[in-house]
């Protein structure tokens, strides 16, 4: 356990080193937040609220939606896919496999460490600037607790999906295309971009078969109290089911991948 804590600490330090990258990422998030706040205002065109298939949604809800999902995005972007596939392509993975550590747990520690450093350096500035510019509201404690649990679930789902794409590197030389496709799918079907309650019926149907909405949409709609408490609990159960399914896929692929792995030279 102490060993893994060291990995977390290392990732925190590594992430804090690249200050310019951090600053630029923050700047892009703030820009995006202002774009979203402005287009929601323009689309509502003076009306305070509109109806959706999940009840009445006010303009304030939408602005809060943008702030919270911008905050969640701090925990969702990671380099896991390229890190893992690079290790496989270069053969570095062979050295990692003979270390007395669990590869997946090690990668998880990297992600956790990166996320922890992101809290202070990225999340807090986004929330403070967003809150000062547009106002901020906190739900009642029951929803807040459920929100944090579903957020953790969403981060786990994102970790497992990116881990699976990374180890596809056992079969494909180049996985960066999959990464691009994943980003686009996540952008639409996670609700990171526009909430699913404004989607046309067809796309709501599609999003039901995909795990992506549990990354952004589910936690934010819990935060905004747009689901009942039993509804929120059922979301958590569905997240658990997806986590179990993705975990199993990851394990199977890892076994098959390492079994066929041949490192040339080295």
């Amino acid at each position: 356990m102490r060993l893994y804590l060291e990995f977390v600490k290392n990732a925190i330090l590594a992430n804090s080193t690249y200050r310019v990258n951090l600053f630029i990422r923050l700047l892009n998030r703030i820009i995006e937040l202002f774009i979203f706040a402005s287009i929601w205002k323009a689309l509502y065109s003076g009306a305070a609220e509109t109806t959706s298939n999940m009840g009445v949604i006010s303009l304030n809800d939408m602005i809060m939606y943008s702030i919270i999902s911008s905050g969640i995005s701090v925990f969702i972007s990671n380099n896991l896919i390229s890190d893992i596939s690079d290790k496989i392509r270069t053969g570095q993975i062979a050295l990692d496999m003979i270390k007395p550590i669990n590869f997946k747990a090690w990668q998880l520690c990297n992600v956790i460490g990166t996320n922890i450093s992101g809290i202070l350096l990225e999340l807090v500035p986004v929330l403070v600037i967003g809150g000062l510019a547009f106002g901020f509201r906190v739900p009642e404690w029951k929803y807040l607790i459920l929100f944090f649990i579903s957020l953790a679930g969403g981060i786990a789902i994102n970790f497992l999906i990116t881990y699976i794409l990374g180890i596809l590197g056992f079969w494909f030389l180049e996985v960066s295309h999959f990464e691009r496709l994943l980003q686009d799918l996540v952008k639409v079907f996670s609700g990171a971009w526009f909430p699913i309650w404004f989607f046309p019926k067809v796309l709501i149907g599609v999003s039901g078969y995909l795990p992506f909405k549990y990354i952004y949409f589910a936690p934010v709609s819990i935060y905004l109290s747009k689901v009942s408490i039993p509804g929120a609990l059922s979301i958590l159960v569905q997240q658990l089911i997806w986590i179990a399914v993705l975990f199993l896929i990851g394990e199977v692929l890892w076994r098959k991948g390492t079994a066929k792995l041949v490192i040339q030279g080295g």
């Binding site: 310019v20 990258n21 630029i24 700047l27 892009n28 820009i31 995006e32 202002f34 774009i35 402005s38 287009i39 205002k41 323009a42 689309l43 509502y44 065109s45 509109t50 959706s52 180049e174 295309h177 691009r180 496709l181 980003q183 686009d184 952008k187 639409v188 971009w193 526009f194 404004f198 989607f199 046309p200 796309l203």
Partner: protein, 267 residues
Amino acid sequence: MDPLVLFLRHASMSFKTWMEYKYAFFTNQFVQFFTYGTNYLGIWILFDKFDSMKGWSFYEVVFLYSLNLLTYGLSGFFFWSPMKQLGYMVQHGDFDSILIRPMNPFFHMIARNFNTSFFVNIVMAGIVFGICFNRLGIAWSPANIFWLVIFIFGAFLVQCSMFIFGGSLSFWVVNSSPFINTFIYGIRHFVDYPISVYDTVIRALLTFVVPYAFVNFYPAAYFLNKSDDMLFFPALQYATPLVGVILFLLAYKVWSIGIRRYESTGS
């Protein structure tokens, strides 16, 4: 040798390289198609629910977005790779090899590095743009065609200049890539939507400081008769070509200063 002949030789060499990597070529096209198709899908989602965005209809916003995408694709074809690679080349001293060639380094960098991934952007944006032109009932009159060509050229120069400004920073900072990203994946997104949705400060910034608004908003204002749509001066809707040329000259100046600085540090 004539610089133009040299440029064309390089271009034909790049073309042969792409033909060697057909699989990569087509997967790149598919991925680009998917990404930018997704962005069109996003506009459709918004307008499925809402009727208008500050008086702009679905086709008007698609028109606006396509103009941005088309000129971004055109400029990316020439400048994406050279400007993204410049940082690495300066760091590793590879840029020296560009300086000793009997060709202007600027044109040499472009000629050896066309980025074919942008083909699909250009084709897709061009087709969608044409559809919007018809849907919005804009006449294909000689005057409109004249302004269309001029505006696209001006907007293309604005987009190129942003790449050059960002890339030229490599001569001053270790890694210029984040700065280019801020331009093309950050600030540029402001003009995915009509800038009349933003408050005056942001509109002024996008007009006078980082003039992305000339890429699509002001030209679109001309075609869609939006001159009452809170423009600072109505004449700005004709200013895209002028802004493009000035910005491009300025960007080239920054590039030249950067090269001189690179030479003086020696490595």
